[in-house]
């Protein structure tokens, strides 16, 4: 770039784009300027005064976090004056600070400790009485200990700017100024815990984590949240085979530091007391614990029998199991059981979208695209509740790049607040309403359409036609429900489609048809709960269930295998935008096995293992990469915890889309299907209890 500004910091000649802040320029050059209130991506405060630097020809010290570089500027961060200023500010900061590091959750990873260690004085001159305020609980997950607060306003900003919630503010002034929640004595908000996470000190602490451990006693495992389809990377803090904390402070992954309440806290279902720990088998009409070998043998015997006599199988897969498990399951169903009666709960019409796009590989938006695109149109979805990360991305795009956001929904949504046009439509009239936005949309240089489950079948085709008619680069996101809803479609967990959306060419039953088929001999359910609110017509069918809990479906089973949760196994999942990411085992749950292993052991028990191949996650993933179109993603990216987008279709989809089967569960922030019922956190928060 020609118009770079030249300046020096500590004698080093540097260049940066005009408008770059001195603190950022220094950081890029590897020069640390200490800061509390400055936080990349959030608005500037200039409040903590830690970042003061000397600038030639300016009489006073300047705050590096508010000062843009200028041509010829000479900055020094290494002078005695700067060192003295840092020391003085830290000395002030500690005057009313309780210094209860020995019992503070933050101890060991506290920015204040680190700052004082590096820049502060070794002793305190303050001999007055400290100002004290008692600790407060604002919600089951958010606690506030005011004396530890350094008033950096990060929490206020992340909640307002980042989350779009604005639940935190400041009350009082001067030394008694205090962060306060929106309802005076308690919070009503998203309960995301972003404020806790971003707090540099131990002022905001998490109800789920506080006083449980010292941070250095934990190991940190980076894996993917198992709740919604957004695919946030979450770093689990593990100690003694227990998950103690979820966060993403290292900003790895597609979500940066973002996590919603589910990603941050709702892993807690994994050690719910109702967790199944041994296989169960129906003995005299009652489910009794049995050994793995007994259960496996019984199921294998039954499967072999039914297969031998040409009986009817029905196989229902999951929206949360890994790609490897889904791939292996469909292979098992099709090759070993010889059936196409294979389905899962479908929540978005990705098939119609892929078909309408004719395999235009570049027309599927990534999570990152939502942060970069000049314009985003949200149709038929309450993103802030149903797809928190996508909402976060779009909001950040609006804040940082002034992206134009359009909304077409039946009800008000959070995106309205910063949209250029928030259009309300009657149910079913989304596309008509969208037409009315055309004059504005044609002026956008590029667009992303994000659409929910009411846009399906013909409507998807019409939407894509509409998009194409704008004559601009257009991308799409077809919203789906769970962590691997997209992967389940990609891996061919439907009667009509094989992995990679190739037509199976064979007829097969859908979920509803399986449940209604009176001649069904075996129903095999892997990580799903189809019998919640439904019944099985085939009274005598042998029901096999793999699950974490004794769900409605499991209660009706003949054999139940206790399965691992996403936090207890390896594998990959594909998020809503088609990005493949890797799960990493964080803990082991006594008595359980990963679904992949259960399926593999069944194959072995039936003597069919050879044709299905080994059931290790890595080996199956290698096969997926080799055989499923679009999944030949770069292995190093996946192995190092990155995300790689798949492009599963290169042309038309030669099978019907079945829009009539598509219905989103519309989980809000505080629910997550059957799994969510076993999360104490989701039940504990006020907002969760209020939500139907």
């Amino acid at each position: 770039m020609a118009n770079l500004v030249k300046f020096t910091i500590d004698g080093r000649e540097l260049e940066a784009a005009p408008g770059t802040l001195v603190i950022d320029a220094a950081k890029r050059a590897g020069i640390e300027i200490p800061a509390f209130c400055y936080y990349e991506g959030l608005s500037l405060q200039g409040a903590c005064r830690m970042c003061m630097v000397e600038v030639e020809r300016m009489p006073k010290l300047q705050t590096a976090c508010t000062l843009p570089v200028a041509e010829g500027m000479v900055v020094r961060t290494d002078t005695p004056q700067v060192a003295q200023a840092r020391k003085g500010t830290l000395e002030f900061l500690l005057t009313n600070h309780p210094l209860d590091c020995p019992v503070c959750d933050k101890g060991g990873e506290c920015e204040l400790q680190d700052m004082v260690f590096r820049y502060g004085a070794g002793e305190s001159r303050f001999t007055e009485i400290k100002h004290h305020v008692d600790e407060k609980q604002w919600s089951p997950v958010v606690y506030f200990d005011a004396p530890r607060c350094i008033l950096c306003y990060r929490c206020v900003r992340v909640c307002d700017e980042g989350m779009g919630v604005g639940a935190l503010g400041v009350v009082n002034r001067g030394v008694v100024a205090e962060i306060a929640p929106n309802h005076g004595d308690h919070l009503e908000c998203d309960e995301c815990g972003m404020c806790i996470d971003i707090c540099p000190v131990g002022a905001l602490t998490s109800g789920a984590y506080r006083y449980k451990t010292r941070p250095w006693e934990m190991e940190h495992v980076g894996t993917i949240c198992t709740h919604c389809s957004n695919g946030c990377r979450t770093t689990l803090g593990v100690r003694n085979n227990q998950i103690i904390r979820g966060n993403n402070r290292d900003s790895s992954g597609i979500n940066g530091e973002f996590l919603c309440i589910k990603g941050r806290y709702a892993f807690d279902f994994y050690d719910h007391p109702d967790r199944l720990q041994a296989p169960l088998m129906k003995v005299n009409g009652k489910l009794e614990p049995v050994s793995w070998s007994q259960a496996l043998a019984a199921v294998a015997r039954k499967f072999s029998d039914v297969k031998a006599r040409g009986g009817n199988f029905g196989v229902i897969g999951s929206n949360r199991t890994t790609n490897e498990e889904n791939f292996y399951l469909q292979k098992f169903a099709r090759q070993v059981l010889g059936t196409n009666n294979l389905d899962h709960r479908r929540s978005g019409d990705i098939v119609s979208l892929l078909d309408a796009l004719h395999g235009q590989q570049t027309a599927l938006a990534t999570t990152a695209d939502l942060y970069q695109a000049k314009a985003v149109v949200v149709i038929s979805a309450d993103l802030a509740l149903e797809h928190p990360l996508l909402s976060w991305q779009i909001r950040a795009n609006w804040r940082h790049h002034a992206a134009h956001v359009y909304v077409v929904t039946t009800e008000p949504v959070r995106e309205d607040k910063y949209s250029v046009n928030a259009a309300r439509c009657a149910p079913g009239q989304e596309l008509e309403t969208l037409q009315a936005l055309r004059p504005q949309l044609v002026d956008e240089p590029e667009l992303i359409f994000v659409f929910g489950d009411t846009i399906k079948g013909e409507k998807v085709r019409k939407l894509v036609e509409f998009g194409a008619s704008l004559g601009k680069p257009v991308k799409y996101v077809c919203l789906v429900d769970y962590a691997n809803s997209r992967g389940a479609m990609d891996m061919g967990l439907t009667p009509e489609l094989l992995p990679g959306y190739r037509a199976s060419g064979m007829p097969g039953l859908t979920i509803a048809e399986m449940l209604a088929a009176e001649d069904l001999d075996v129903l095999w359910v892997v990580g799903a709960n189809p019998l919640a609110g439904a019944s099985l017509a085939a009274r005598g069918a042998f029901v096999v269930v793999q699950d974490l809990f004794l769900t409605e479906t499991a209660q009706a089973a003949d054999v139940v295998f206790p399965a691992c949760s996403a936090y207890e196994k390896n594998g990959t999942v594909t998020n809503v935008t088609g990005e493949v990411q890797r799960l990493k085992r964080a803990v082991q749950a006594m008595g359980t096995k990963p679904d992949l292993e259960i399926i593999g052991l069944l194959a072995r028990e039936m003597g069919e293992a050879a044709q299905l191949g080994p059931w290790s996650a890595d080996k199956v993933f290698a096969e997926i990469r080799a055989t499923v179109p679009g999944y030949n993603v770069p292995l190093p990216v996946i192995l190092t915890g990155g995300a790689a987008q798949t492009s599963p279709v290169n042309g038309r989809v030669e099978a019907p889309a079945r829009p009539e089967l598509i219905r989103s569960a519309r989980n809000g922030l505080f629910s997550s299907g059957t799994l969510g019922r076993y999360s104490n956190v989701l039940h504990s928060v006020l907002e969760g209890r209020r939500q139907p």
Partner: protein, 454 residues
Amino acid sequence: MFASHPPLFSNPPHPREVIMLSKRFRLPNSASIDTFLAHGGYRSFRKALEMTADEIIAEVKTSNLRGRGGAGFPTGLKMGFVPRNSPKPKYIVVNADESEPGTCKDRLLMEYDPHSLLEGMLIAARAIDAKKGYIYIRGEYRYLIHILDRAIEEAYRHGYLGRNILGTGMDFDAYTHSGAGAYECGEESALLESLEGKRGVPRIKPPFPAQVGAFQCPTMLSNVETFCSIPYIVEMGGKAYADLGVEKAGGTKLTCLTGHLNKPGVYELPLGFPVDQLIHDVGGGIPGGRKLKAFIPGGSSCPVLTAKECEGLTMDYDAMAKRGTMLGSGGVVVMDESTDMVKVALRIMRFYQHESCGWCIPCREGTTWLRKMLQRFDEGLGRRHEIAMIGELAKNMLGRTFCALGDAAALPTISIVEKFYDEFERKLNAVSAPVPAPGPFPVLNDPPPLGVGR
């Protein structure tokens, strides 16, 4: 219209006064528009309507008018900074938050001559093409809001406010807005935040209000007295106004004399008035013939001067700067030899720690620490090494806070501890004196306040 209102002053002006801003203070019903019009009111505005915007600004520049809110920034320059051709609306904002201890002049202008403020706003509005003006008044001045609202109502009725003013096509609306009792909301950017309905904490500068002010739009924000001075500049011409004062500081200034004086009060004096005469002539001298010990020239934010430093000093911006202090807002505090300077330091710090908005660390924590420490000193519980520490801590605030309140707390403290070090030493083992409750500024030793409020 107005209930009959006696004049502010029944006595004649002091012969050394130059009566201009205060010219209507001695009239009955001075706040009513009838009185105002009968005594030359809105004449300058009519004259300004014949002038171009550039001409008005040029006159203000020539007048050497400097902001009367404390910082003394040249008002003409500030007006010139407002981007007149910006497509955004432009605003006039009057800083009527008058909270600087020792200062009580804006109050008189608003109470006894509210229309002169409106007239100043109108002229400024014409110069920067503003269509709306806000008068931000400190919450404690609630009764003045009443008076101003009535004046605004009268001005609307007489066609000086509203649409198509005096048939010229000019539109201008004026509003009053109440603060809620925060000194910090007198700081211009905090004032704007508060005006917009937010928490009263300052903004990052630059940009300055002239570019990005009220509601993110170009804004001329000045003190009440500054606006009130503009009509006289237009009336007499910038040159004649400048000639009333000294080089680089034109006109007259309402000076608030408080403290140990026989005749405290508000006096209108030309810039450059000698301090010695201020105390001994205008102020009637120090009661009981006591000697001058310390002098605050313009509100509690200024470094304190010793009697010696006041010798040959004149009341203008540059002369004060040369002695290391500031003319400030015109709130003079005279302290005689009976004054306990530790108590003065404590009283000043108690004010700032109470008023610190809490936004930034050095001010929030520094004022609190210093207040606690000074309190201890006052109770005779200071430690010798801490005398120097008081200055050190204040210096750790100075120039490092987010807004000038931190400096305002640090400067007087540094000056007192450096210039009156021995008084701190003497207090080291003094018997604990009762701590006075927060009261009017300053807290004085026995014998109790002579001269104050007389």
